[in-house]
């Protein structure tokens, strides 16, 4: 009965869409969205993917316990709800009943347990294994100190219940489970096919889409997952073309070969007033770090002087991409964002501090070189900073740029006096940004560590009351950006996109995660509602909102 009605509905829908097509409306009956990827996804194995390209495909193939809403709050996805037990040390996730994999097999909590333990297994050699180091015994197992995976604090209590025991209370844990590495994978598929399990003929997924085709180096095509239990997406086919050159992608967009495209900086001025132009903040911060272990930047007054001597209001003009200048480190769009924190432009105070440090008007200042990796954007910023420090401090620093990998190896072996780096959020919680500069962080290249700062960060991560968390992060940011200044935050990035007018339902978020399941074409909505009402059908456009 149910099936028959569904079929009738599909038939009707189909007919209506055909009608729409005959009426000459643009676009046609196609329910396909085509996008550009910046390159070949290095892998479609959720446990091994480390980059945005892979993630932007995977996010549509799989569904984790939670997902983000437009404001980046974790909301239920595969999990129906979760309980926080033992003062925040234990999370008990309850899966939605009736969820299925694309081959029809029911989704079980065991699949999550397997995926997480696989991620942590040293044999898997996953680069993102540390993502779950908040889980009890996870780090020890990954390091090989514990051999048995059963000691790791994740366990399927039943088909629908997943228990996670943590090392310490962790307020942001449901945010972590939105991330690709925590997505479930199928043990039998991986064991049967080995490395080739991510090829279309083998891959089994649990998200709204399945992998239909993967023409390596050329395109990835996603089709509808017939067994997806959530709302059926309007878009039935998603094609990602691998286009490395942004200008090429833009050409393809204009010849109507793509529906969405990232806008390269040189073209922004031409499209700024277009209705297709979309701009939104992106949780990625860029900063200049000091090597605080060596003179002259072992003197906090010098670091503060350098930070105070930059007029960041000119940065958007230079970068042209709508970047937001920042004095504080936690980016806009994230909890605890506070533009009031940080050292604002104050050349007089900068000169005074510099004089107090023994370099009046920059006299006697040793020769230092700022180093960055070679990109046009980095270069513009570096040149600007160079001119600012010269103008406001009387210090002429040298500039040196290096190829990316060379630069990274230099940073970890012998950090230059001043260097450029950035950080993009893995999950939208201030902890992800703030613990970067904690004493235990491996990513902190400044050599700076501060017991007080570490303590605040640790407490903030465990704190469950949002107000208190914000207060703690404010204090930590004051230490980082005002008192100790191992880094100068410069700006946070934005995303500039063009989206065809007929494509609706694109809800951008600051993680730039693009869920395709919410997209639909305008023509259905604009032209058809009366007919749909007459047929007693939900408007597919409204339905997916």
């Amino acid at each position: 009965m149910h099936g028959a009605r569904l079929r009738l509905r599909f038939a009707l829908c189909f007919g209506l869409v055909l009608l729409a097509a005959c009426s000459g409306r643009e676009p046609d009956t196609r329910r396909e969205v085509r996008l550009a990827l910046a390159g070949e996804p290095p892998t479609l194995d959720p446990g091994l993917a480390t980059d945005n390209v892979s993630h932007s495909v995977l996010i549509n193939l799989f569904e984790g316990l939670t997902e983000f809403d437009a404001d980046l709050r974790p909301i239920p996805a595969a999990a129906e709800s979760w309980e926080v037990l033992d003062g925040g040390r234990v999370y008990l996730f309850h899966l939605k009943p009736g969820l299925r994999w694309s081959d029809g097999r029911p989704l079980s909590a065991v699949d999550f347990e397997y995926a997480w333990k696989r991620l942590l297994d040293p044999i898997t050699a996953s680069e993102y294994a540390y993502f779950l180091f908040d889980v009890e015994n996870a780090a020890e197992y990954n390091r090989g100190e514990i051999k048995s995976p059963s000691a790791v604090g994740v366990r399927a209590l039943s088909d629908l219940d997943l228990e996670v025991r943590l090392v310490r209370p962790t307020a942001y844990f449901p945010s972590l489970t939105t991330f690709v590495v925590t997505f479930p994978v199928r043990r039998d598929v991986i064991e049967d096919h080995g490395k080739l399990w991510t090829e279309p003929e083998n891959m089994i997924t649990n998200g709204p889409y399945v992998l239909e085709t993967w023409d390596h180096e050329y395109r990835v095509v996603l089709g509808l997952n017939p067994n997806y239990a959530g709302r059926r997406p309007f878009v039935e086919r998603v094609t990602f073309y691998m286009v490395e050159v942004e200008a090429t992608a833009l050409s393809l967009y204009e010849t109507n070969d793509l529906e969405m495209v990232k806008l390269p900086p040189e073209a922004i001025s031409a499209y700024r007033d277009s209705e297709e132009f979309v701009r939104y903040p992106f949780l990625r911060g860029t900063y200049y770090g000091f090597n605080v272990k060596k003179a002259p930047f072992n003197d906090v007054r010098v670091r503060r002087a350098f930070a105070l001597a930059i007029d960041k209001s000119k940065l958007p003009e230079i970068l042209q991409g709508g970047e937001l200048p920042a004095n504080s480190w936690v980016p806009k769009g994230m909890l605890a964002y506070n533009p009031g924190v940080g050292l604002a432009f104050d050349p007089a105070r900068a000169r005074a501090l510099l004089a107090a440090a023994g370099y009046p008007e920059g006299r006697g200042f040793p020769e230092v070189t700022a180093v960055f990796n070679t990109t046009p954007e980095n270069l513009l910023v570096a040149q600007y900073l160079q001119s600012q420090w010269k103008k406001n401090l009387g210090i002429e620093i040298g500039l040196d740029n290096m190829e990316w990998k060379f630069y990274l190896s230099r940073l970890s072996t012998d950090p230059p006096p001043i260097f450029r780096l950035g950080w993009g959020a893995d999950f939208p919680d201030p902890d992800n940004f703030m613990s970067l500069f904690a004493g235990w962080s491996g990513v902190n290249q400044t050599g700076w560590s501060n017991a007080g700062y570490d303590e605040i960060i640790r407490r903030a991560a465990q704190e469950t009351a949002t107000v208190t968390r914000i207060e703690l992060y404010d204090r930590a940011q004051r230490i980082l950006c005002e008192e100790e200044v191992p880094i100068i935050p410069l700006y946070t990035s934005t995303v500039n996109m063009l989206v065809k007018r007929y494509l609706r339902g694109f809800v951008p978020n600051a993680m730039d995660i693009r869920y395709m399941k919410g997209l639909y074409y305008r023509h259905t909505r604009a032209g058809l509602p009366p007919l749909f009402r007459w047929a007693g059908l939900p408007n597919p456009g409204e339905a997916v909102r």
């Binding site: 194995d45 680069e127 490395e244 990998k405 060379f406 190896s409 290249q445």
Partner: protein
Amino acid sequence: MKAILVRLLLAIPVLWGVVTITFLMLRVTPGGPFDREKVLPPEIKRNVEAQYHLDKPLWAQYGLYVKGLLEGDLGPSYKYVGRDVSRIIADTFPISATLGFLAFAFSLSVGIATGIVSGLRAGKWEDHLISGLASVGFSVPSFVLAAFLVYILSHWLHLLPPALIGSWKHFIMPTLVLAAGPTAYIARLTRANVIDTAVKDYIRSARARGVAEWRVLLQYVIRNAVTPVVSYSGLVLAFLITGSFIVEHIFAVPGMGRFFVTAVTNRDYPLIMGVTCVLAVVIILGNLVVDITLALLDPRLRERT
């Protein structure tokens, strides 16, 4: 036959040299495949490096690589997890080769044809036109040429798609851009040779003997003019079919050429080694084919090789 075998044997030390020098050059270059902005915790980096034997001493890694190579195993890619280099090459090489052969056919036919015309009409307007065009083909960087072509043919005239593959139309612009340089060069080479041979004694005597003009052209002039083009074409073919980074990059063509650059910036050692080996083999084979063709064209050479 024996000559061919000898040539193949001589190629072995060259190949070995290519492998060794590439291996060493890559390893002395600073920066490793797993250096990331999000620095990996040491224990995780250890796990990853152990998986690819990067924790072993350099000579051991070299030994492992050469051993794998002898068994026909090019190793796993570091960047494209779970894909073997040989698979990646198998996926991408045919596309580069298709594009390369198209460009090669274009440059050979158009280059020789225009070269002959301008050689025979030296000093006339046809010659000026062709030589002028050839010089343009020679002096425009291919990315600039590509930008202008896309602008005119895709954005302005809406004739051709600006990128991707999928139909024969997609291949036109990449082929033109790829072929521009070689076509210009071949045209110039042919022209010079046509002019040179046209004044040779045996041509004059052939004409004097009353041999038909078209036979003179076909049998003597063109045949002699084409020989140097053939010896040049081996290398061109080798480079064309192993792909061009610039053309593949701009037109989003999924070929092999891009790896010569991207694999280096990613420090994907096995992938670089793999594509370099393929290029070396193709160059060696290309030169061999050229020598054989030359021998067929010119019986005098046959005895020497």
